[in-house]
């Protein structure tokens, strides 16, 4: 397994645990009083699961297992693949921090962080599509 796939899969596992722990904490809200930032973390929790865990696991395994692009570049453009990994995780972490805070205390600065997060994750998605598309091919 290439190093980038190992990073993808291990981070995906960490996000998986984090998403479910956060979900358990938020489920306790009717029984115990939680900090408002946790109560406001619903959308962030969902994306921790679907982007951090599911999408990241798919990206990592696809980078590893999909058919080779070419003998001298088996996994496509490595720079694009690395940038995709970094952009996805930076974007997701920015969202995780900024979105609950923005829900509680809207500000131009936090709104700007959300815009950066959106752009970062969008670029990651496009980078993955561009790098993976040529590797999806027939026999």
């Amino acid at each position: 397994m290439p190093p980038l796939s190992r990073w993808y899969v291990k981070l995906a596992l960490l996000y998986f645990v984090a998403a479910l722990v956060l979900g358990a904490l938020r489920a306790a809200e009717p029984l115990v009083s939680l900090p408002p930032v946790l109560v406001a973390a619903g959308p962030a929790q969902v994306h921790l699961l679907v982007v951090g865990w599911i999408t990241q696991m798919i990206f990592g395994v696809a980078y590893w297992m999909f058919p080779r692009y070419a003998p001298d570049a088996p996994r496509g453009n490595d720079a694009v693949a690395t940038a995709t990994f970094l952009l996805l995780n930076v974007g997701l972490l920015l969202r995780l921090v900024a979105e609950p805070l923005y829900a509680l205390h809207p500000s131009v600065k936090l709104g700007g962080v959300l815009v950066v997060s959106a752009g970062s994750q969008w670029l990651a998605g496009i980078g993955f599509v561009l790098n993976t598309w040529p590797r999806v091919k027939g026999r």
Partner: protein, 141 residues
């Protein structure tokens, strides 16, 4: 990789790009204070990423990877069920994604038609892979 898997996977990549674009618009809209205007895209965002990207990718990889042992039908006839699943899934994703955006009485009807097409895709896909989940035999496929 079989041709039908290429179509499944490339279409799933297209939906990934589309779904991420809608999601980025919604999140950026939230940050810019225009959240409500973009909120109508949420059903399409969820549909495109859940069924168009994730489910479609799983189906394409399964058709590619699962063993071809024990399949007794001809390759052409066998592939037909996979193509049927591909067609129904994508009709379903489009109708279910666009349905909530359509105004009036058309919206719920489109969404229902989309869900029925997706259910049909699941049946066709199950029919395709069922015989391939087996430990013995060898097929011509």
């Amino acid at each position: 990789m079989p041709r039908v898997s290429v179509w499944f996977l490339r279409t799933s990549l297209a939906y990934l790009g589309l779904g991420f674009t809608l999601g980025a618009l919604m999140l950026a809209g939230k940050g810019l204070g225009t959240n409500l205007a973009w909120w109508r895209l949420r059903p399409a965002h969820v549909e495109f990423l859940l069924f168009g990207w994730t489910v479609q990718l799983v189906m394409g990889v399964a058709v590619w990877i699962l063993p071809r042992f024990g399949v007794r039908r001809s390759p052409v006839r066998h592939a037909a069920t996979a193509w049927l699943a591909f067609g129904l899934l994508n009709v379903g994703v489009l109708l279910s994604g666009v349905g909530p955006l359509a105004g009036g009485a058309a919206g719920p009807g489109l969404t229902l038609a989309g869900r029925l097409a997706e259910a049909g895709a699941a049946i066709a896909f199950g029919g395709h892979v069922w015989a391939r989940v087996t430990p013995s035999g060898l097929s011509e496929m």
